[in-house]
Symmetry: C3
Protein backbone atom coordinates (compact mmCIF):
# COMPACT_ATOMS: atom_id res chain seq x y z
CA UNK A 1 0.00 0.00 0.00
CA UNK A 2 1.29 3.44 -0.89
CA UNK A 3 0.97 4.83 2.66
CA UNK A 4 3.21 2.03 4.00
CA UNK A 5 5.89 2.85 1.46
CA UNK A 6 5.79 6.58 2.12
CA UNK A 7 5.73 6.02 5.89
CA UNK A 8 8.83 3.82 5.67
CA UNK A 9 10.60 6.38 3.48
CA UNK A 10 9.67 8.99 6.06
CA UNK A 11 11.04 7.00 9.00
CA UNK A 12 14.31 6.58 7.10
CA UNK A 13 14.56 10.24 6.09
CA UNK A 14 13.64 11.59 9.52
CA UNK A 15 16.11 9.26 11.24
CA UNK A 16 18.84 10.41 8.85
CA UNK A 17 17.97 14.06 9.53
CA UNK A 18 18.24 13.44 13.28
CA UNK A 19 21.57 11.66 12.87
CA UNK A 20 22.96 14.45 10.68
CA UNK A 21 21.88 17.05 13.25
CA UNK A 22 23.71 14.98 15.87
CA UNK A 23 26.86 14.91 13.70
CA UNK A 24 26.65 18.68 13.35
CA UNK A 25 26.60 19.06 17.12
CA UNK A 26 29.44 16.49 17.47
CA UNK A 27 27.39 14.06 19.56
CA UNK A 28 28.56 10.53 20.33
CA UNK A 29 26.96 7.48 18.76
CA UNK A 30 24.38 7.13 21.53
CA UNK A 31 23.29 10.75 21.21
CA UNK A 32 23.08 10.35 17.44
CA UNK A 33 20.87 7.27 17.72
CA UNK A 34 18.65 9.01 20.29
CA UNK A 35 18.23 12.02 18.01
CA UNK A 36 17.52 9.79 15.00
CA UNK A 37 14.85 7.78 16.78
CA UNK A 38 13.21 10.81 18.37
CA UNK A 39 13.05 12.62 15.03
CA UNK A 40 11.53 9.57 13.33
CA UNK A 41 8.94 8.52 15.89
CA UNK A 42 8.67 11.54 18.20
CA UNK A 43 5.87 13.23 16.28
CA UNK A 44 3.66 10.16 16.48
CA UNK A 45 4.45 9.77 20.17
CA UNK A 46 3.44 13.37 20.97
CA UNK A 47 0.22 12.90 18.98
CA UNK A 48 -0.68 9.65 20.77
CA UNK A 49 0.15 11.11 24.18
CA UNK A 50 -2.12 14.11 23.52
CA UNK A 51 -4.85 11.73 22.29
CA UNK A 52 -4.43 9.76 25.48
CA UNK A 53 -3.22 6.52 23.91
CA UNK A 54 -0.12 4.43 24.45
CA UNK A 55 2.05 5.38 21.45
CA UNK A 56 1.98 3.01 18.47
CA UNK A 57 5.73 3.08 18.10
CA UNK A 58 6.23 1.85 21.68
CA UNK A 59 3.94 -1.14 21.18
CA UNK A 60 4.54 -2.04 17.55
CA UNK A 61 8.28 -1.56 17.53
CA UNK A 62 9.10 -1.94 13.84
CA UNK A 63 9.46 1.79 13.10
CA UNK A 64 11.62 2.40 16.16
CA UNK A 65 13.98 -0.47 15.26
CA UNK A 66 14.21 0.81 11.70
CA UNK A 67 15.07 4.29 12.99
CA UNK A 68 17.78 2.87 15.28
CA UNK A 69 19.28 0.90 12.42
CA UNK A 70 19.25 3.86 10.02
CA UNK A 71 20.79 6.19 12.61
CA UNK A 72 23.62 3.71 13.21
CA UNK A 73 24.22 3.36 9.46
CA UNK A 74 24.19 7.15 9.12
CA UNK A 75 26.76 7.39 11.89
CA UNK A 76 29.04 4.82 10.26
CA UNK A 77 28.91 6.02 6.66
CA UNK A 78 28.71 9.73 7.40
CA UNK A 79 31.11 12.08 5.78
CA UNK A 80 30.57 15.54 4.38
CA UNK A 81 30.96 14.54 0.74
CA UNK A 82 28.34 11.79 0.96
CA UNK A 83 25.86 14.19 2.51
CA UNK A 84 26.08 16.42 -0.55
CA UNK A 85 25.61 13.52 -2.97
CA UNK A 86 22.62 12.11 -1.10
CA UNK A 87 21.00 15.45 -0.38
CA UNK A 88 18.35 15.14 -3.12
CA UNK A 89 17.41 11.60 -2.10
CA UNK A 90 17.07 12.76 1.50
CA UNK A 91 14.86 15.69 0.51
CA UNK A 92 12.53 13.52 -1.56
CA UNK A 93 12.28 10.93 1.25
CA UNK A 94 11.63 13.69 3.73
CA UNK A 95 8.76 15.02 1.58
CA UNK A 96 7.37 11.48 1.36
CA UNK A 97 7.51 11.16 5.13
CA UNK A 98 5.83 14.52 5.63
CA UNK A 99 3.00 13.45 3.31
CA UNK A 100 2.50 10.06 4.97
CA UNK A 101 2.79 11.36 8.54
CA UNK A 102 0.29 14.14 7.89
CA UNK A 103 -2.33 11.74 6.58
CA UNK A 104 -1.72 9.24 9.40
CA UNK A 105 -2.15 12.04 11.94
CA UNK A 106 -5.34 13.28 10.28
CA UNK A 107 -6.78 9.76 10.29
CA UNK A 108 -6.02 9.40 13.99
CA UNK A 109 -7.70 12.73 14.69
CA UNK A 110 -10.83 11.75 12.77
CA UNK A 111 -10.86 8.38 14.52
CA UNK A 112 -11.08 10.32 17.80
CA UNK A 113 -13.99 12.46 16.54
CA UNK A 114 -12.01 15.69 16.54
CA UNK A 115 -13.19 18.76 14.65
CA UNK A 116 -11.44 20.68 11.86
CA UNK A 117 -8.86 22.39 14.05
CA UNK A 118 -8.23 19.26 16.14
CA UNK A 119 -7.62 17.11 13.04
CA UNK A 120 -5.30 19.73 11.57
CA UNK A 121 -3.34 19.92 14.81
CA UNK A 122 -2.97 16.11 14.96
CA UNK A 123 -1.76 16.09 11.35
CA UNK A 124 0.75 18.82 12.17
CA UNK A 125 1.97 17.21 15.41
CA UNK A 126 2.59 13.95 13.54
CA UNK A 127 4.33 15.64 10.63
CA UNK A 128 6.59 18.07 12.47
CA UNK A 129 6.62 16.98 16.14
CA UNK A 130 9.71 14.81 15.72
CA UNK A 131 11.68 17.59 14.08
CA UNK A 132 10.63 20.05 16.77
CA UNK A 133 11.82 17.71 19.54
CA UNK A 134 15.09 17.17 17.64
CA UNK A 135 15.75 20.91 17.37
CA UNK A 136 14.78 21.60 20.99
CA UNK A 137 17.15 18.88 22.22
CA UNK A 138 20.14 20.44 20.45
CA UNK A 139 19.09 23.91 21.51
CA UNK A 140 18.04 25.32 18.16
CA UNK A 141 14.83 27.24 17.52
CA UNK A 142 12.58 24.64 15.83
CA UNK A 143 12.78 24.87 12.05
CA UNK A 144 8.99 25.02 11.67
CA UNK A 145 8.93 28.41 13.36
CA UNK A 146 11.37 29.65 10.72
CA UNK A 147 10.75 27.55 7.61
CA UNK A 148 7.02 27.64 7.77
CA UNK A 149 5.73 26.17 4.50
CA UNK A 150 6.57 22.80 5.99
CA UNK A 151 4.15 22.86 8.93
CA UNK A 152 1.65 24.89 6.93
CA UNK A 153 1.31 21.95 4.53
CA UNK A 154 0.45 19.63 7.43
CA UNK A 155 -2.12 22.04 8.78
CA UNK A 156 -3.84 22.59 5.43
CA UNK A 157 -3.46 18.91 4.52
CA UNK A 158 -5.15 17.89 7.75
CA UNK A 159 -7.96 20.37 7.16
CA UNK A 160 -8.54 19.24 3.57
CA UNK A 161 -8.59 15.61 4.68
CA UNK A 162 -11.18 16.43 7.36
CA UNK A 163 -13.29 18.42 4.87
CA UNK A 164 -13.20 15.69 2.24
CA UNK A 165 -14.30 12.98 4.66
CA UNK A 166 -17.09 15.19 6.00
CA UNK A 167 -18.25 15.85 2.42
CA UNK A 168 -18.56 12.10 1.93
CA UNK A 169 -15.50 11.30 -0.19
CA UNK A 170 -13.93 7.90 0.47
CA UNK A 171 -11.03 7.53 2.86
CA UNK A 172 -8.81 5.99 0.19
CA UNK A 173 -9.44 8.89 -2.20
CA UNK A 174 -8.75 11.58 0.43
CA UNK A 175 -5.70 9.75 1.69
CA UNK A 176 -4.08 9.51 -1.72
CA UNK A 177 -5.13 12.99 -2.83
CA UNK A 178 -3.80 14.71 0.27
CA UNK A 179 -0.64 12.63 0.38
CA UNK A 180 0.28 13.17 -3.24
CA UNK A 181 -0.59 16.89 -3.08
CA UNK A 182 1.60 17.45 -0.04
CA UNK A 183 4.45 15.50 -1.61
CA UNK A 184 4.32 17.48 -4.88
CA UNK A 185 3.85 20.89 -3.24
CA UNK A 186 6.69 20.19 -0.81
CA UNK A 187 9.05 19.25 -3.64
CA UNK A 188 8.01 22.35 -5.59
CA UNK A 189 8.43 24.53 -2.49
CA UNK A 190 12.02 23.31 -2.24
CA UNK A 191 12.69 23.74 -5.97
CA UNK A 192 11.22 27.25 -6.18
CA UNK A 193 12.02 28.32 -2.62
CA UNK A 194 8.45 29.28 -1.69
CA UNK A 195 7.81 30.94 1.67
CA UNK A 196 4.92 32.32 3.70
CA UNK A 197 4.68 36.10 3.97
CA UNK A 198 6.63 37.88 6.66
CA UNK A 199 7.10 41.56 7.32
CA UNK A 200 8.89 43.13 4.39
CA UNK A 201 8.15 40.38 1.88
CA UNK A 202 4.36 40.54 1.83
CA UNK A 203 4.11 40.51 -1.95
CA UNK A 204 4.45 36.80 -2.68
CA UNK A 205 1.90 35.80 -0.03
CA UNK A 206 0.51 32.34 -0.65
CA UNK A 207 -2.05 32.03 2.14
CA UNK B 1 -19.87 34.10 34.76
CA UNK B 2 -16.74 35.82 35.99
CA UNK B 3 -14.45 32.83 35.32
CA UNK B 4 -15.52 32.78 31.66
CA UNK B 5 -14.67 36.46 31.26
CA UNK B 6 -11.28 36.13 32.94
CA UNK B 7 -10.48 32.98 30.97
CA UNK B 8 -11.26 34.74 27.69
CA UNK B 9 -9.15 37.74 28.71
CA UNK B 10 -6.38 35.28 29.53
CA UNK B 11 -6.55 33.50 26.18
CA UNK B 12 -6.31 36.88 24.45
CA UNK B 13 -3.43 38.13 26.59
CA UNK B 14 -1.45 34.89 26.37
CA UNK B 15 -1.91 34.71 22.59
CA UNK B 16 -0.70 38.29 22.28
CA UNK B 17 2.33 37.51 24.46
CA UNK B 18 3.19 34.55 22.22
CA UNK B 19 2.80 36.64 19.09
CA UNK B 20 4.98 39.43 20.49
CA UNK B 21 7.66 36.90 21.42
CA UNK B 22 7.48 35.65 17.84
CA UNK B 23 7.89 39.19 16.48
CA UNK B 24 10.92 39.66 18.73
CA UNK B 25 12.51 36.55 17.22
CA UNK B 26 11.52 37.68 13.69
CA UNK B 27 9.36 34.63 12.99
CA UNK B 28 7.04 34.41 10.00
CA UNK B 29 3.28 34.57 10.35
CA UNK B 30 2.95 30.81 10.77
CA UNK B 31 5.52 30.70 13.54
CA UNK B 32 3.81 33.64 15.24
CA UNK B 33 0.41 31.94 15.15
CA UNK B 34 1.94 28.71 16.47
CA UNK B 35 3.58 30.54 19.35
CA UNK B 36 0.38 32.46 20.12
CA UNK B 37 -1.78 29.33 20.22
CA UNK B 38 0.75 27.32 22.24
CA UNK B 39 1.10 30.10 24.81
CA UNK B 40 -2.67 30.42 25.13
CA UNK B 41 -3.71 26.78 25.33
CA UNK B 42 -0.41 24.95 25.99
CA UNK B 43 -0.69 25.07 29.78
CA UNK B 44 -4.11 23.43 29.75
CA UNK B 45 -2.89 20.81 27.28
CA UNK B 46 0.09 19.85 29.47
CA UNK B 47 -2.24 19.63 32.50
CA UNK B 48 -4.74 17.42 30.70
CA UNK B 49 -2.02 15.19 29.28
CA UNK B 50 -0.54 14.66 32.75
CA UNK B 51 -4.04 13.97 34.10
CA UNK B 52 -4.49 11.44 31.35
CA UNK B 53 -7.35 13.17 29.53
CA UNK B 54 -7.77 14.34 25.97
CA UNK B 55 -7.14 18.11 26.23
CA UNK B 56 -10.22 20.33 26.44
CA UNK B 57 -8.85 22.76 23.90
CA UNK B 58 -8.50 20.01 21.28
CA UNK B 59 -12.12 18.90 21.67
CA UNK B 60 -13.90 22.16 22.42
CA UNK B 61 -12.05 24.33 19.94
CA UNK B 62 -13.33 27.81 20.85
CA UNK B 63 -10.24 28.88 22.82
CA UNK B 64 -7.85 27.63 20.14
CA UNK B 65 -9.71 29.50 17.37
CA UNK B 66 -9.74 32.65 19.48
CA UNK B 67 -5.99 32.32 20.03
CA UNK B 68 -5.38 31.87 16.29
CA UNK B 69 -7.47 34.93 15.50
CA UNK B 70 -5.76 37.09 18.12
CA UNK B 71 -2.30 36.02 16.99
CA UNK B 72 -3.13 36.94 13.38
CA UNK B 73 -4.49 40.32 14.50
CA UNK B 74 -1.36 40.86 16.59
CA UNK B 75 0.79 40.07 13.58
CA UNK B 76 -1.11 42.51 11.35
CA UNK B 77 -1.37 45.49 13.72
CA UNK B 78 2.00 45.04 15.40
CA UNK B 79 4.39 47.91 15.54
CA UNK B 80 6.68 49.01 18.36
CA UNK B 81 4.73 52.14 19.23
CA UNK B 82 1.45 50.27 19.64
CA UNK B 83 3.08 47.76 21.97
CA UNK B 84 4.03 50.56 24.35
CA UNK B 85 0.53 52.07 24.31
CA UNK B 86 -1.19 48.74 24.91
CA UNK B 87 1.29 47.48 27.47
CA UNK B 88 -0.92 48.18 30.48
CA UNK B 89 -3.98 46.57 28.90
CA UNK B 90 -1.87 43.50 28.11
CA UNK B 91 -0.54 43.30 31.66
CA UNK B 92 -4.01 43.51 33.20
CA UNK B 93 -5.37 40.87 30.81
CA UNK B 94 -2.40 38.67 31.54
CA UNK B 95 -3.08 38.91 35.29
CA UNK B 96 -6.75 38.05 34.61
CA UNK B 97 -5.66 35.00 32.63
CA UNK B 98 -3.26 33.89 35.33
CA UNK B 99 -6.04 34.11 37.91
CA UNK B 100 -8.57 32.21 35.79
CA UNK B 101 -6.11 29.54 34.60
CA UNK B 102 -4.90 28.86 38.14
CA UNK B 103 -8.42 28.27 39.44
CA UNK B 104 -9.37 26.12 36.44
CA UNK B 105 -6.26 24.01 37.02
CA UNK B 106 -6.98 23.65 40.74
CA UNK B 107 -10.55 22.57 40.00
CA UNK B 108 -9.30 19.94 37.56
CA UNK B 109 -6.85 18.65 40.17
CA UNK B 110 -9.54 18.38 42.83
CA UNK B 111 -11.85 16.68 40.34
CA UNK B 112 -9.15 14.02 39.99
CA UNK B 113 -8.85 13.56 43.77
CA UNK B 114 -5.33 14.92 43.98
CA UNK B 115 -3.79 16.04 47.26
CA UNK B 116 -2.42 19.46 48.23
CA UNK B 117 0.77 19.25 46.19
CA UNK B 118 -0.96 17.66 43.20
CA UNK B 119 -3.62 20.38 43.08
CA UNK B 120 -0.99 23.10 43.39
CA UNK B 121 1.03 21.56 40.57
CA UNK B 122 -2.04 21.37 38.30
CA UNK B 123 -2.83 25.02 39.06
CA UNK B 124 0.75 25.97 38.23
CA UNK B 125 0.95 23.87 35.04
CA UNK B 126 -2.26 25.51 33.79
CA UNK B 127 -1.14 29.01 34.71
CA UNK B 128 2.43 28.97 33.45
CA UNK B 129 2.77 25.89 31.20
CA UNK B 130 1.95 27.81 28.03
CA UNK B 131 4.52 30.50 28.76
CA UNK B 132 7.15 27.87 29.55
CA UNK B 133 6.54 26.10 26.22
CA UNK B 134 6.69 29.47 24.42
CA UNK B 135 10.05 30.34 25.96
CA UNK B 136 11.51 26.88 25.37
CA UNK B 137 10.50 27.00 21.70
CA UNK B 138 12.37 30.25 21.11
CA UNK B 139 15.31 29.05 23.15
CA UNK B 140 14.97 31.31 26.17
CA UNK B 141 15.17 30.16 29.78
CA UNK B 142 11.50 30.08 30.88
CA UNK B 143 10.50 33.34 32.57
CA UNK B 144 9.03 31.50 35.59
CA UNK B 145 12.49 30.33 36.58
CA UNK B 146 13.59 33.97 36.63
CA UNK B 147 10.47 36.04 37.43
CA UNK B 148 9.18 33.82 40.13
CA UNK B 149 6.31 35.67 41.82
CA UNK B 150 4.25 34.65 38.83
CA UNK B 151 4.39 30.88 39.29
CA UNK B 152 4.50 31.25 43.05
CA UNK B 153 1.02 32.79 42.90
CA UNK B 154 -0.29 29.75 41.03
CA UNK B 155 1.25 27.37 43.52
CA UNK B 156 -0.09 29.18 46.59
CA UNK B 157 -3.42 29.87 44.87
CA UNK B 158 -3.82 26.17 44.11
CA UNK B 159 -2.95 25.25 47.68
CA UNK B 160 -5.39 27.79 49.18
CA UNK B 161 -8.14 26.58 46.86
CA UNK B 162 -7.50 22.98 47.94
CA UNK B 163 -7.46 23.97 51.62
CA UNK B 164 -10.67 25.97 51.38
CA UNK B 165 -12.59 23.15 49.71
CA UNK B 166 -11.28 20.64 52.25
CA UNK B 167 -12.42 22.97 55.06
CA UNK B 168 -15.91 22.91 53.62
CA UNK B 169 -16.16 26.31 51.93
CA UNK B 170 -18.25 26.41 48.75
CA UNK B 171 -16.63 26.07 45.35
CA UNK B 172 -18.01 29.41 44.18
CA UNK B 173 -16.60 31.23 47.20
CA UNK B 174 -13.15 29.67 46.86
CA UNK B 175 -13.11 30.22 43.12
CA UNK B 176 -13.84 33.92 43.38
CA UNK B 177 -11.65 34.50 46.42
CA UNK B 178 -8.60 32.84 44.91
CA UNK B 179 -9.14 34.38 41.49
CA UNK B 180 -9.57 37.93 42.76
CA UNK B 181 -6.66 37.58 45.20
CA UNK B 182 -4.31 36.36 42.48
CA UNK B 183 -5.43 39.12 40.15
CA UNK B 184 -4.89 41.88 42.73
CA UNK B 185 -1.59 40.51 44.05
CA UNK B 186 -0.28 40.09 40.52
CA UNK B 187 -1.15 43.68 39.61
CA UNK B 188 0.45 44.93 42.83
CA UNK B 189 3.53 42.78 42.21
CA UNK B 190 3.95 44.51 38.84
CA UNK B 191 3.29 47.99 40.28
CA UNK B 192 5.68 47.59 43.22
CA UNK B 193 8.13 45.20 41.55
CA UNK B 194 7.90 42.48 44.22
CA UNK B 195 10.23 39.49 44.01
CA UNK B 196 10.99 36.31 45.90
CA UNK B 197 14.22 36.25 47.90
CA UNK B 198 17.40 35.29 46.14
CA UNK B 199 20.98 35.30 47.38
CA UNK B 200 21.98 38.87 48.22
CA UNK B 201 18.47 40.28 48.46
CA UNK B 202 17.13 38.19 51.32
CA UNK B 203 15.70 41.15 53.24
CA UNK B 204 12.40 41.62 51.41
CA UNK B 205 11.50 37.93 51.58
CA UNK B 206 7.78 37.34 51.12
CA UNK B 207 7.55 33.61 51.58
CA UNK C 1 13.69 -3.12 50.77
CA UNK C 2 16.78 -2.24 48.78
CA UNK C 3 14.85 -0.59 45.92
CA UNK C 4 13.16 1.82 48.36
CA UNK C 5 16.52 2.88 49.75
CA UNK C 6 18.11 3.39 46.34
CA UNK C 7 15.02 5.22 45.06
CA UNK C 8 15.13 7.61 48.01
CA UNK C 9 18.86 8.19 47.52
CA UNK C 10 18.08 8.90 43.87
CA UNK C 11 15.34 11.44 44.63
CA UNK C 12 17.74 13.25 46.96
CA UNK C 13 20.65 13.20 44.51
CA UNK C 14 18.54 14.26 41.52
CA UNK C 15 16.93 17.09 43.47
CA UNK C 16 20.37 18.30 44.55
CA UNK C 17 21.59 18.16 40.95
CA UNK C 18 18.62 20.27 39.84
CA UNK C 19 19.19 22.78 42.62
CA UNK C 20 22.90 23.06 41.80
CA UNK C 21 22.07 23.63 38.12
CA UNK C 22 19.71 26.38 39.26
CA UNK C 23 22.44 27.99 41.37
CA UNK C 24 24.77 27.89 38.38
CA UNK C 25 22.19 29.80 36.33
CA UNK C 26 21.57 32.23 39.24
CA UNK C 27 17.90 31.35 39.59
CA UNK C 28 15.79 32.50 42.53
CA UNK C 29 14.59 30.10 45.21
CA UNK C 30 11.41 29.26 43.35
CA UNK C 31 13.25 28.43 40.17
CA UNK C 32 15.69 26.29 42.12
CA UNK C 33 12.90 24.32 43.78
CA UNK C 34 11.16 23.85 40.42
CA UNK C 35 14.36 22.54 38.84
CA UNK C 36 15.03 20.26 41.82
CA UNK C 37 11.56 18.72 41.74
CA UNK C 38 11.49 18.33 37.97
CA UNK C 39 14.88 16.63 37.96
CA UNK C 40 13.82 14.25 40.71
CA UNK C 41 10.36 13.23 39.55
CA UNK C 42 10.28 14.41 35.90
CA UNK C 43 11.56 11.15 34.45
CA UNK C 44 8.84 9.13 36.12
CA UNK C 45 6.22 11.65 35.03
CA UNK C 46 7.28 11.45 31.37
CA UNK C 47 7.22 7.65 31.57
CA UNK C 48 3.75 7.54 33.11
CA UNK C 49 2.40 10.08 30.63
CA UNK C 50 3.69 8.03 27.70
CA UNK C 51 2.21 4.89 29.30
CA UNK C 52 -1.07 6.72 29.59
CA UNK C 53 -1.28 6.73 33.38
CA UNK C 54 -1.67 9.51 35.92
CA UNK C 55 1.90 9.92 37.25
CA UNK C 56 2.70 8.17 40.53
CA UNK C 57 4.45 11.21 41.92
CA UNK C 58 1.34 13.38 41.47
CA UNK C 59 -0.87 10.93 43.37
CA UNK C 60 1.49 9.54 45.99
CA UNK C 61 3.23 12.78 46.87
CA UNK C 62 6.04 11.57 49.14
CA UNK C 63 8.82 11.77 46.52
CA UNK C 64 7.75 15.23 45.37
CA UNK C 65 7.69 16.60 48.93
CA UNK C 66 11.10 15.08 49.59
CA UNK C 67 12.45 16.72 46.42
CA UNK C 68 11.01 20.12 47.44
CA UNK C 69 12.56 19.80 50.89
CA UNK C 70 15.97 18.77 49.54
CA UNK C 71 15.99 21.58 46.98
CA UNK C 72 15.23 24.15 49.70
CA UNK C 73 17.99 22.72 51.90
CA UNK C 74 20.37 22.81 48.94
CA UNK C 75 19.48 26.44 48.34
CA UNK C 76 20.09 27.39 51.98
CA UNK C 77 23.34 25.52 52.60
CA UNK C 78 24.83 26.00 49.15
CA UNK C 79 28.26 27.41 48.79
CA UNK C 80 31.02 26.50 46.38
CA UNK C 81 33.28 24.90 48.98
CA UNK C 82 30.56 22.56 50.25
CA UNK C 83 29.85 21.36 46.73
CA UNK C 84 33.42 20.18 46.36
CA UNK C 85 33.36 18.35 49.69
CA UNK C 86 30.05 16.61 49.00
CA UNK C 87 30.80 15.81 45.37
CA UNK C 88 31.60 12.13 45.98
CA UNK C 89 28.49 11.60 48.11
CA UNK C 90 26.39 13.20 45.38
CA UNK C 91 27.92 11.02 42.67
CA UNK C 92 27.30 7.82 44.62
CA UNK C 93 23.70 8.82 45.38
CA UNK C 94 23.19 9.72 41.75
CA UNK C 95 24.40 6.28 40.66
CA UNK C 96 22.05 4.72 43.22
CA UNK C 97 19.16 6.73 41.78
CA UNK C 98 20.04 5.78 38.23
CA UNK C 99 20.03 2.11 39.21
CA UNK C 100 16.71 2.29 41.07
CA UNK C 101 14.96 4.45 38.47
CA UNK C 102 16.05 2.16 35.63
CA UNK C 103 14.63 -0.93 37.31
CA UNK C 104 11.41 0.85 38.29
CA UNK C 105 10.96 1.97 34.68
CA UNK C 106 11.65 -1.52 33.34
CA UNK C 107 9.10 -3.00 35.75
CA UNK C 108 6.48 -0.49 34.60
CA UNK C 109 7.20 -1.33 30.98
CA UNK C 110 6.84 -5.08 31.60
CA UNK C 111 3.65 -4.45 33.55
CA UNK C 112 2.28 -2.83 30.40
CA UNK C 113 3.28 -5.82 28.22
CA UNK C 114 5.87 -3.90 26.23
CA UNK C 115 8.53 -5.65 24.17
CA UNK C 116 12.33 -5.43 24.46
CA UNK C 117 12.69 -1.97 22.93
CA UNK C 118 9.65 -0.59 24.76
CA UNK C 119 10.91 -1.80 28.15
CA UNK C 120 14.37 -0.38 27.46
CA UNK C 121 12.86 2.99 26.48
CA UNK C 122 10.75 3.10 29.67
CA UNK C 123 13.84 2.30 31.74
CA UNK C 124 15.75 5.07 29.98
CA UNK C 125 12.95 7.65 30.24
CA UNK C 126 12.70 7.00 33.98
CA UNK C 127 16.45 7.13 34.51
CA UNK C 128 17.35 10.17 32.45
CA UNK C 129 14.08 12.00 31.69
CA UNK C 130 14.33 14.29 34.70
CA UNK C 131 17.87 15.34 33.85
CA UNK C 132 16.89 15.98 30.24
CA UNK C 133 14.00 18.25 31.30
CA UNK C 134 16.34 20.05 33.71
CA UNK C 135 18.90 20.74 31.00
CA UNK C 136 16.28 21.80 28.45
CA UNK C 137 14.75 24.26 30.92
CA UNK C 138 18.06 26.03 31.47
CA UNK C 139 18.86 25.93 27.79
CA UNK C 140 21.68 23.44 27.79
CA UNK C 141 22.01 20.49 25.41
CA UNK C 142 20.92 17.51 27.56
CA UNK C 143 23.90 15.78 29.18
CA UNK C 144 22.79 12.35 27.94
CA UNK C 145 23.45 13.40 24.36
CA UNK C 146 27.01 14.24 25.37
CA UNK C 147 27.86 11.96 28.31
CA UNK C 148 26.39 8.84 26.89
CA UNK C 149 27.41 5.96 29.15
CA UNK C 150 24.75 7.20 31.53
CA UNK C 151 21.72 6.62 29.31
CA UNK C 152 23.36 3.60 27.70
CA UNK C 153 23.30 1.88 31.10
CA UNK C 154 19.55 2.45 31.39
CA UNK C 155 18.94 1.10 27.91
CA UNK C 156 21.03 -2.06 28.42
CA UNK C 157 19.75 -2.45 31.98
CA UNK C 158 16.15 -2.33 30.77
CA UNK C 159 16.92 -4.85 28.05
CA UNK C 160 18.67 -7.27 30.42
CA UNK C 161 15.78 -6.99 32.87
CA UNK C 162 13.30 -7.78 30.09
CA UNK C 163 15.41 -10.72 28.90
CA UNK C 164 15.83 -12.18 32.38
CA UNK C 165 12.11 -12.09 33.12
CA UNK C 166 11.30 -13.64 29.73
CA UNK C 167 13.83 -16.42 30.45
CA UNK C 168 11.95 -17.22 33.65
CA UNK C 169 14.20 -15.69 36.30
CA UNK C 170 12.41 -14.26 39.33
CA UNK C 171 11.59 -10.57 39.53
CA UNK C 172 13.54 -10.14 42.77
CA UNK C 173 16.65 -11.70 41.27
CA UNK C 174 16.53 -9.59 38.09
CA UNK C 175 15.77 -6.44 40.05
CA UNK C 176 18.74 -6.81 42.35
CA UNK C 177 21.11 -8.04 39.64
CA UNK C 178 20.34 -5.18 37.26
CA UNK C 179 20.29 -2.56 39.98
CA UNK C 180 23.60 -3.61 41.52
CA UNK C 181 25.26 -4.00 38.09
CA UNK C 182 24.20 -0.52 36.99
CA UNK C 183 25.35 0.97 40.27
CA UNK C 184 28.78 -0.66 40.10
CA UNK C 185 29.34 0.02 36.38
CA UNK C 186 28.27 3.64 36.82
CA UNK C 187 30.71 4.15 39.68
CA UNK C 188 33.48 2.50 37.68
CA UNK C 189 32.63 4.58 34.62
CA UNK C 190 33.13 7.72 36.73
CA UNK C 191 36.35 6.41 38.29
CA UNK C 192 37.92 5.30 35.01
CA UNK C 193 36.23 7.87 32.77
CA UNK C 194 34.72 5.35 30.34
CA UNK C 195 32.96 6.63 27.23
CA UNK C 196 31.15 5.29 24.19
CA UNK C 197 32.99 5.48 20.89
CA UNK C 198 32.78 8.66 18.87
CA UNK C 199 34.58 9.63 15.68
CA UNK C 200 38.31 9.70 16.34
CA UNK C 201 38.24 7.52 19.45
CA UNK C 202 36.85 4.33 17.96
CA UNK C 203 39.43 2.05 19.54
CA UNK C 204 37.91 1.61 22.99
CA UNK C 205 34.46 0.80 21.63
CA UNK C 206 32.30 -1.00 24.18
CA UNK C 207 29.10 -1.56 22.22
Amino acid sequence: MIIEVLNTLGIVAFSVSGALKGEKHKLDIFGIVVLGVITAVGGGIIRDVVLNQVPDSIIQERDAYLAVFIAIVSYIVYHDKLEGKLSNIIKVSDAAGLAAFTVIGAQKGLGNDLGLLGVSIMATLTGVGGGVLRDMLVNEIPFILKEDVYAFLCLIGGGVYWGGIKLGFSEALMMNTVMISIFIIRIMAIMFNLQLPSKGRLKHADS
